[in-house]
Protein backbone atom coordinates (compact mmCIF):
# COMPACT_ATOMS: atom_id res chain seq x y z
CA UNK A 1 0.00 0.00 0.00
CA UNK A 2 2.91 2.25 0.92
CA UNK A 3 4.52 1.62 -2.45
CA UNK A 4 1.38 2.58 -4.31
CA UNK A 5 1.26 5.86 -2.40
CA UNK A 6 4.93 6.68 -3.09
CA UNK A 7 5.02 5.75 -6.75
CA UNK A 8 2.63 8.48 -7.99
CA UNK A 9 4.58 10.99 -5.92
CA UNK A 10 7.88 9.97 -7.50
CA UNK A 11 6.36 10.01 -10.95
CA UNK A 12 4.93 13.48 -10.38
CA UNK A 13 8.31 14.69 -9.16
CA UNK A 14 10.11 13.16 -12.13
CA UNK A 15 7.62 14.69 -14.59
CA UNK A 16 7.91 18.06 -12.85
CA UNK A 17 11.72 18.03 -12.98
CA UNK A 18 11.72 16.93 -16.61
CA UNK A 19 9.22 19.64 -17.55
CA UNK A 20 11.32 22.19 -15.69
CA UNK A 21 14.46 21.11 -17.51
CA UNK A 22 12.73 21.22 -20.89
CA UNK A 23 11.10 24.56 -20.17
CA UNK A 24 14.38 26.18 -19.15
CA UNK A 25 15.66 28.38 -21.95
CA UNK A 26 19.05 26.86 -22.82
CA UNK A 27 21.48 29.15 -24.59
CA UNK A 28 23.92 27.91 -27.26
CA UNK A 29 26.98 26.30 -25.70
CA UNK A 30 29.39 26.76 -28.65
CA UNK A 31 31.68 24.56 -26.58
CA UNK A 32 35.04 24.78 -28.31
CA UNK A 33 33.75 24.01 -31.81
CA UNK A 34 35.22 26.33 -34.38
CA UNK A 35 32.54 27.96 -36.45
CA UNK A 36 31.37 25.83 -39.34
CA UNK A 37 33.29 22.71 -38.35
CA UNK A 38 30.52 20.74 -36.64
CA UNK A 39 28.26 21.87 -39.44
CA UNK A 40 30.68 20.29 -41.92
CA UNK A 41 30.59 16.88 -40.22
CA UNK A 42 26.83 16.92 -39.75
CA UNK A 43 26.17 18.02 -43.33
CA UNK A 44 28.48 15.28 -44.58
CA UNK A 45 26.85 12.70 -42.31
CA UNK A 46 23.34 13.66 -43.40
CA UNK A 47 24.14 13.71 -47.11
CA UNK A 48 24.18 9.94 -47.80
CA UNK A 49 21.07 9.36 -45.68
CA UNK A 50 19.06 12.12 -47.31
CA UNK A 51 18.05 10.10 -50.38
CA UNK A 52 16.24 6.76 -50.43
CA UNK A 53 18.19 5.57 -53.48
CA UNK A 54 21.46 5.81 -51.54
CA UNK A 55 20.03 4.44 -48.31
CA UNK A 56 18.46 1.35 -49.90
CA UNK A 57 21.57 0.54 -51.94
CA UNK A 58 23.95 0.93 -48.97
CA UNK A 59 21.79 -1.19 -46.66
CA UNK A 60 21.46 -3.80 -49.41
CA UNK A 61 25.26 -4.03 -49.63
CA UNK A 62 25.35 -4.89 -45.92
CA UNK A 63 22.46 -7.37 -46.16
CA UNK A 64 24.00 -9.09 -49.18
CA UNK A 65 27.32 -9.28 -47.38
CA UNK A 66 25.61 -10.93 -44.40
CA UNK A 67 23.91 -13.42 -46.74
CA UNK A 68 27.25 -14.26 -48.35
CA UNK A 69 28.93 -14.68 -44.96
CA UNK A 70 32.64 -14.29 -44.22
CA UNK A 71 34.85 -13.01 -45.78
CA UNK A 72 32.42 -11.02 -48.02
CA UNK A 73 30.51 -9.75 -44.98
CA UNK A 74 33.51 -7.69 -43.81
CA UNK A 75 35.38 -7.32 -47.09
CA UNK A 76 32.59 -5.32 -48.75
CA UNK A 77 32.33 -2.72 -45.95
CA UNK A 78 36.14 -2.39 -45.94
CA UNK A 79 36.41 -1.94 -49.72
CA UNK A 80 33.25 0.05 -50.43
CA UNK A 81 34.18 3.37 -48.74
CA UNK A 82 37.49 3.58 -50.59
CA UNK A 83 35.94 2.89 -54.00
CA UNK A 84 33.11 5.29 -53.24
CA UNK A 85 35.66 7.94 -52.26
CA UNK A 86 37.34 7.40 -55.63
CA UNK A 87 34.03 8.22 -57.31
CA UNK A 88 33.59 11.16 -54.93
CA UNK A 89 37.00 12.53 -55.88
CA UNK A 90 36.11 12.21 -59.56
CA UNK A 91 32.94 14.21 -58.87
CA UNK A 92 34.86 16.81 -56.89
CA UNK A 93 37.32 17.28 -59.72
CA UNK A 94 34.56 17.57 -62.29
CA UNK A 95 35.52 14.37 -64.12
CA UNK A 96 32.28 13.41 -65.89
CA UNK A 97 30.62 10.04 -65.36
CA UNK A 98 27.72 9.54 -67.77
CA UNK A 99 24.30 8.39 -66.50
CA UNK A 100 25.23 8.68 -62.83
CA UNK A 101 21.62 8.83 -61.62
CA UNK A 102 20.67 5.89 -63.80
CA UNK A 103 23.59 3.93 -62.34
CA UNK A 104 22.41 4.68 -58.82
CA UNK A 105 18.85 3.61 -59.64
CA UNK A 106 20.21 0.48 -61.32
CA UNK A 107 22.26 -0.28 -58.20
CA UNK A 108 19.05 -0.59 -56.17
CA UNK A 109 17.60 -3.00 -58.76
CA UNK A 110 20.73 -5.16 -58.99
CA UNK A 111 21.57 -5.21 -55.28
CA UNK A 112 17.90 -5.84 -54.39
CA UNK A 113 17.85 -8.69 -56.90
CA UNK A 114 21.04 -10.13 -55.38
CA UNK A 115 19.43 -10.12 -51.94
CA UNK A 116 16.15 -11.49 -53.31
CA UNK A 117 17.80 -14.39 -55.14
CA UNK A 118 20.43 -14.94 -52.41
CA UNK A 119 22.99 -14.87 -55.22
CA UNK A 120 26.37 -16.39 -54.37
CA UNK A 121 28.83 -15.32 -57.07
CA UNK A 122 32.60 -15.62 -56.55
CA UNK A 123 33.95 -13.02 -54.14
CA UNK A 124 35.70 -11.00 -56.86
CA UNK A 125 32.45 -10.77 -58.84
CA UNK A 126 30.51 -9.58 -55.77
CA UNK A 127 33.24 -7.05 -54.97
CA UNK A 128 33.23 -5.89 -58.59
CA UNK A 129 29.45 -5.40 -58.69
CA UNK A 130 29.50 -3.45 -55.43
CA UNK A 131 32.60 -1.49 -56.49
CA UNK A 132 31.11 -0.35 -59.81
CA UNK A 133 28.00 0.96 -58.09
CA UNK A 134 30.11 2.53 -55.35
CA UNK A 135 31.75 4.72 -58.01
CA UNK A 136 28.32 5.97 -59.16
CA UNK A 137 27.18 6.72 -55.61
CA UNK A 138 30.47 8.44 -54.75
CA UNK A 139 30.44 10.48 -57.94
CA UNK A 140 26.93 11.77 -57.24
CA UNK A 141 27.96 12.78 -53.71
CA UNK A 142 31.16 14.42 -54.93
CA UNK A 143 29.31 16.46 -57.54
CA UNK A 144 26.65 17.60 -55.09
CA UNK A 145 29.07 18.71 -52.36
CA UNK A 146 28.14 22.18 -51.17
CA UNK A 147 30.85 24.82 -51.54
CA UNK A 148 32.54 26.20 -48.45
CA UNK A 149 32.22 23.12 -46.25
CA UNK A 150 35.15 21.86 -44.21
CA UNK A 151 36.74 19.21 -46.41
CA UNK A 152 37.99 16.85 -43.72
CA UNK A 153 34.92 16.90 -41.49
CA UNK A 154 32.48 16.77 -44.38
CA UNK A 155 34.34 13.78 -45.86
CA UNK A 156 34.58 12.04 -42.48
CA UNK A 157 30.86 12.48 -41.86
CA UNK A 158 30.00 11.34 -45.35
CA UNK A 159 32.15 8.18 -45.08
CA UNK A 160 30.97 7.42 -41.53
CA UNK A 161 27.30 7.63 -42.55
CA UNK A 162 27.91 5.25 -45.43
CA UNK A 163 29.70 2.84 -43.09
CA UNK A 164 26.85 3.06 -40.60
CA UNK A 165 24.34 2.21 -43.33
CA UNK A 166 26.42 -0.88 -44.16
CA UNK A 167 26.45 -1.73 -40.47
CA UNK A 168 22.66 -1.46 -40.35
CA UNK A 169 22.46 -3.75 -43.38
CA UNK A 170 24.78 -6.33 -41.80
CA UNK A 171 22.81 -6.19 -38.54
CA UNK A 172 19.54 -6.75 -40.43
CA UNK A 173 21.20 -9.50 -42.46
CA UNK A 174 22.07 -11.45 -39.33
CA UNK A 175 18.48 -12.77 -39.25
CA UNK A 176 19.60 -14.86 -42.23
CA UNK A 177 20.42 -17.71 -39.84
CA UNK A 178 16.70 -18.39 -39.30
CA UNK A 179 14.36 -19.73 -41.97
CA UNK A 180 11.80 -16.97 -41.38
CA UNK A 181 14.61 -14.43 -41.44
CA UNK A 182 15.82 -15.69 -44.82
CA UNK A 183 12.33 -15.27 -46.24
CA UNK A 184 12.04 -11.78 -44.75
CA UNK A 185 15.39 -10.77 -46.28
CA UNK A 186 14.36 -12.08 -49.70
CA UNK A 187 11.13 -10.11 -49.46
CA UNK A 188 13.10 -7.01 -48.47
CA UNK A 189 15.38 -7.56 -51.47
CA UNK A 190 12.35 -7.67 -53.75
CA UNK A 191 11.08 -4.41 -52.25
CA UNK A 192 14.47 -2.74 -52.84
CA UNK A 193 14.55 -3.97 -56.46
CA UNK A 194 11.03 -2.63 -57.01
CA UNK A 195 12.06 0.67 -55.48
CA UNK A 196 14.96 0.69 -57.98
CA UNK A 197 12.46 0.20 -60.81
CA UNK A 198 10.53 3.18 -59.44
CA UNK A 199 13.73 5.28 -59.37
CA UNK A 200 14.42 4.38 -63.02
CA UNK A 201 10.81 5.19 -63.99
CA UNK A 202 11.11 8.55 -62.23
CA UNK A 203 14.26 9.33 -64.24
CA UNK A 204 12.78 8.58 -67.64
CA UNK A 205 9.15 9.63 -67.25
Amino acid sequence: MRATRETPGRTRRAILLLALALASPPSGAWAHAQEGKADGFLTGFLHPISGWDHVLAMISVGVWGAQLGAPAMWLLPVAFPMVMALGGTMGLLGIPLPHTEAGIALSAIVLGAMVFTEARPPLWVAAGVVGVFAVFHGHAHGTELPPGENGLLYSAGFVAATGCLHGVGIAIGLIHRWKGGRLALRAAGAVVALAGVFFVWRLFR
Partner: protein
Protein backbone atom coordinates in the same frame (compact mmCIF):
# COMPACT_ATOMS: atom_id res chain seq x y z
CA UNK B 1 7.91 15.83 0.16
CA UNK B 2 10.51 17.98 1.99
CA UNK B 3 13.13 16.52 -0.38
CA UNK B 4 11.08 17.62 -3.35
CA UNK B 5 10.64 21.06 -1.83
CA UNK B 6 14.45 21.42 -1.72
CA UNK B 7 15.09 19.73 -5.04
CA UNK B 8 12.72 21.77 -7.20
CA UNK B 9 14.03 25.24 -6.24
CA UNK B 10 17.61 23.96 -6.63
CA UNK B 11 16.83 22.59 -10.09
CA UNK B 12 15.14 25.86 -11.01
CA UNK B 13 18.19 27.85 -9.89
CA UNK B 14 20.56 25.63 -11.87
CA UNK B 15 18.35 25.85 -14.93
CA UNK B 16 18.52 29.62 -15.04
CA UNK B 17 22.23 29.86 -14.24
CA UNK B 18 24.14 32.69 -15.86
CA UNK B 19 27.06 31.98 -18.24
CA UNK B 20 30.12 30.93 -16.26
CA UNK B 21 32.70 32.37 -18.67
CA UNK B 22 34.89 29.49 -17.58
CA UNK B 23 36.81 28.95 -20.78
CA UNK B 24 39.39 31.66 -20.28
CA UNK B 25 38.86 33.05 -23.75
CA UNK B 26 40.71 36.24 -22.96
CA UNK B 27 43.46 34.97 -20.70
CA UNK B 28 44.10 31.59 -22.31
CA UNK B 29 45.89 28.73 -20.58
CA UNK B 30 49.35 29.29 -21.94
CA UNK B 31 51.18 27.90 -24.96
CA UNK B 32 51.77 24.38 -23.59
CA UNK B 33 48.06 23.84 -22.96
CA UNK B 34 47.26 25.50 -26.28
CA UNK B 35 49.51 22.95 -27.97
CA UNK B 36 47.82 20.07 -26.13
CA UNK B 37 44.37 21.38 -27.03
CA UNK B 38 45.38 22.00 -30.62
CA UNK B 39 46.43 18.42 -31.24
CA UNK B 40 43.52 16.85 -29.39
CA UNK B 41 40.91 19.11 -30.96
CA UNK B 42 42.24 19.20 -34.53
CA UNK B 43 40.57 16.30 -36.36
CA UNK B 44 43.32 16.15 -38.99
CA UNK B 45 46.07 15.88 -36.36
CA UNK B 46 44.43 13.46 -34.01
CA UNK B 47 43.03 11.20 -36.76
CA UNK B 48 46.45 10.77 -38.34
CA UNK B 49 48.06 9.95 -34.99
CA UNK B 50 45.27 7.46 -34.29
CA UNK B 51 45.68 5.90 -37.76
CA UNK B 52 49.43 5.41 -37.29
CA UNK B 53 48.86 3.98 -33.84
CA UNK B 54 46.21 1.58 -35.17
CA UNK B 55 48.70 0.41 -37.78
CA UNK B 56 51.33 -0.24 -35.12
CA UNK B 57 48.93 -1.66 -32.53
CA UNK B 58 47.61 -4.25 -35.00
CA UNK B 59 51.14 -5.64 -35.31
CA UNK B 60 51.49 -6.29 -31.59
CA UNK B 61 53.00 -4.85 -28.42
CA UNK B 62 56.56 -4.66 -29.74
CA UNK B 63 55.65 -2.51 -32.74
CA UNK B 64 53.34 -0.50 -30.51
CA UNK B 65 56.25 0.31 -28.17
CA UNK B 66 58.44 1.20 -31.17
CA UNK B 67 55.88 3.65 -32.49
CA UNK B 68 55.60 5.23 -29.06
CA UNK B 69 59.22 6.39 -29.48
CA UNK B 70 59.45 6.89 -33.25
CA UNK B 71 56.29 8.88 -33.92
CA UNK B 72 56.71 11.65 -31.31
CA UNK B 73 60.43 12.04 -32.03
CA UNK B 74 59.93 12.31 -35.80
CA UNK B 75 56.95 14.64 -35.30
CA UNK B 76 59.04 16.88 -33.01
CA UNK B 77 61.98 16.86 -35.44
CA UNK B 78 59.68 17.83 -38.32
CA UNK B 79 58.00 20.44 -36.14
CA UNK B 80 61.26 22.09 -35.11
CA UNK B 81 62.32 22.20 -38.78
CA UNK B 82 58.96 23.74 -39.70
CA UNK B 83 59.26 26.38 -36.99
CA UNK B 84 62.16 27.93 -38.87
CA UNK B 85 60.32 28.02 -42.17
CA UNK B 86 57.36 30.12 -43.33
CA UNK B 87 53.88 28.58 -43.57
CA UNK B 88 53.97 25.69 -46.01
CA UNK B 89 50.51 26.16 -47.47
CA UNK B 90 51.51 24.44 -50.70
CA UNK B 91 51.93 21.16 -48.83
CA UNK B 92 48.30 20.95 -47.66
CA UNK B 93 47.70 18.02 -49.97
CA UNK B 94 50.11 15.89 -47.94
CA UNK B 95 47.57 15.59 -45.10
CA UNK B 96 45.06 13.91 -47.44
CA UNK B 97 47.82 11.77 -48.94
CA UNK B 98 48.98 10.65 -45.46
CA UNK B 99 45.38 9.76 -44.51
CA UNK B 100 45.01 7.72 -47.69
CA UNK B 101 48.34 5.94 -47.32
CA UNK B 102 48.13 5.05 -43.63
CA UNK B 103 44.39 4.26 -43.75
CA UNK B 104 44.92 1.90 -46.69
CA UNK B 105 47.71 0.11 -44.78
CA UNK B 106 45.40 -0.36 -41.77
CA UNK B 107 42.56 -1.60 -44.00
CA UNK B 108 44.86 -4.02 -45.85
CA UNK B 109 46.12 -5.52 -42.54
CA UNK B 110 49.34 -6.86 -44.09
CA UNK B 111 51.99 -8.44 -41.94
CA UNK B 112 54.42 -5.51 -42.00
CA UNK B 113 57.71 -5.76 -40.14
CA UNK B 114 58.62 -3.46 -37.26
CA UNK B 115 61.11 -1.63 -39.48
CA UNK B 116 58.52 -0.89 -42.18
CA UNK B 117 55.94 0.38 -39.68
CA UNK B 118 58.62 2.50 -37.97
CA UNK B 119 59.69 3.94 -41.36
CA UNK B 120 56.08 4.80 -42.24
CA UNK B 121 55.57 6.42 -38.83
CA UNK B 122 58.83 8.36 -39.10
CA UNK B 123 58.02 9.65 -42.61
CA UNK B 124 54.39 10.56 -41.94
CA UNK B 125 55.22 11.90 -38.47
CA UNK B 126 58.00 14.18 -39.72
CA UNK B 127 55.90 15.50 -42.64
CA UNK B 128 52.93 16.17 -40.39
CA UNK B 129 55.16 17.66 -37.69
CA UNK B 130 56.72 19.92 -40.31
CA UNK B 131 53.27 21.20 -41.30
CA UNK B 132 52.36 21.78 -37.64
CA UNK B 133 55.65 23.57 -36.93
CA UNK B 134 55.36 25.65 -40.08
CA UNK B 135 51.84 26.75 -39.08
CA UNK B 136 53.17 27.70 -35.63
CA UNK B 137 56.17 29.60 -37.01
CA UNK B 138 54.22 32.85 -37.03
CA UNK B 139 53.26 32.63 -33.34
CA UNK B 140 55.71 33.94 -30.72
CA UNK B 141 55.55 30.82 -28.53
CA UNK B 142 55.45 28.19 -31.26
CA UNK B 143 58.11 26.04 -29.57
CA UNK B 144 56.07 25.64 -26.40
CA UNK B 145 52.93 24.87 -28.38
CA UNK B 146 54.87 22.20 -30.22
CA UNK B 147 55.94 20.78 -26.86
CA UNK B 148 52.30 20.69 -25.74
CA UNK B 149 51.39 18.87 -28.93
CA UNK B 150 54.12 16.35 -28.21
CA UNK B 151 52.72 15.67 -24.74
CA UNK B 152 49.21 15.17 -26.16
CA UNK B 153 50.57 12.89 -28.86
CA UNK B 154 52.35 10.70 -26.31
CA UNK B 155 49.10 10.31 -24.37
CA UNK B 156 47.03 9.53 -27.48
CA UNK B 157 49.58 7.03 -28.84
CA UNK B 158 49.90 5.26 -25.48
CA UNK B 159 46.16 4.96 -24.95
CA UNK B 160 45.22 3.92 -28.49
CA UNK B 161 48.12 1.48 -28.87
CA UNK B 162 47.23 -0.08 -25.52
CA UNK B 163 43.63 -0.59 -26.57
CA UNK B 164 44.45 -1.97 -30.03
CA UNK B 165 47.15 -4.34 -28.80
CA UNK B 166 44.69 -5.80 -26.28
CA UNK B 167 42.06 -6.53 -28.97
CA UNK B 168 41.89 -10.27 -29.36
CA UNK B 169 38.37 -10.74 -30.70
CA UNK B 170 38.14 -11.33 -34.45
CA UNK B 171 35.39 -8.74 -34.87
CA UNK B 172 37.40 -6.06 -33.14
CA UNK B 173 40.18 -6.48 -35.68
CA UNK B 174 37.66 -6.19 -38.50
CA UNK B 175 36.33 -3.00 -36.90
CA UNK B 176 39.87 -1.56 -36.87
CA UNK B 177 40.25 -2.43 -40.57
CA UNK B 178 36.92 -0.79 -41.37
CA UNK B 179 38.08 2.29 -39.47
CA UNK B 180 41.25 2.23 -41.58
CA UNK B 181 39.20 2.15 -44.77
CA UNK B 182 37.16 5.10 -43.52
CA UNK B 183 40.37 7.05 -42.86
CA UNK B 184 41.71 6.16 -46.33
CA UNK B 185 38.42 7.17 -47.97
CA UNK B 186 38.40 10.44 -46.05
CA UNK B 187 41.99 11.07 -47.20
CA UNK B 188 41.08 10.45 -50.82
CA UNK B 189 38.16 12.88 -50.59
CA UNK B 190 40.42 15.43 -48.87
CA UNK B 191 42.82 15.15 -51.77
CA UNK B 192 39.90 15.86 -54.09
CA UNK B 193 38.92 18.92 -52.04
CA UNK B 194 42.49 20.21 -52.06
CA UNK B 195 42.88 19.72 -55.80
CA UNK B 196 39.51 21.39 -56.45
CA UNK B 197 40.47 24.36 -54.28
CA UNK B 198 43.80 24.67 -56.07
CA UNK B 199 42.08 25.05 -59.44
Amino acid sequence: MRKAARLIPAAALFSFALPADAHLVTTGLGPIYDGIAHLVMSPADVALVVALTLLAGMRGARVGRTILAVLPISWLAGGLTGLGLPAASRLEWTTGACFLFVGALVAADRNLSTGVVAAVAATVGSVHGFLAGSALSTTPSGGFELLGGLVAMLVVVTLVAGVVVSLKVFWARIAVRVLGSWIAATGLLMLGWTLRSAR
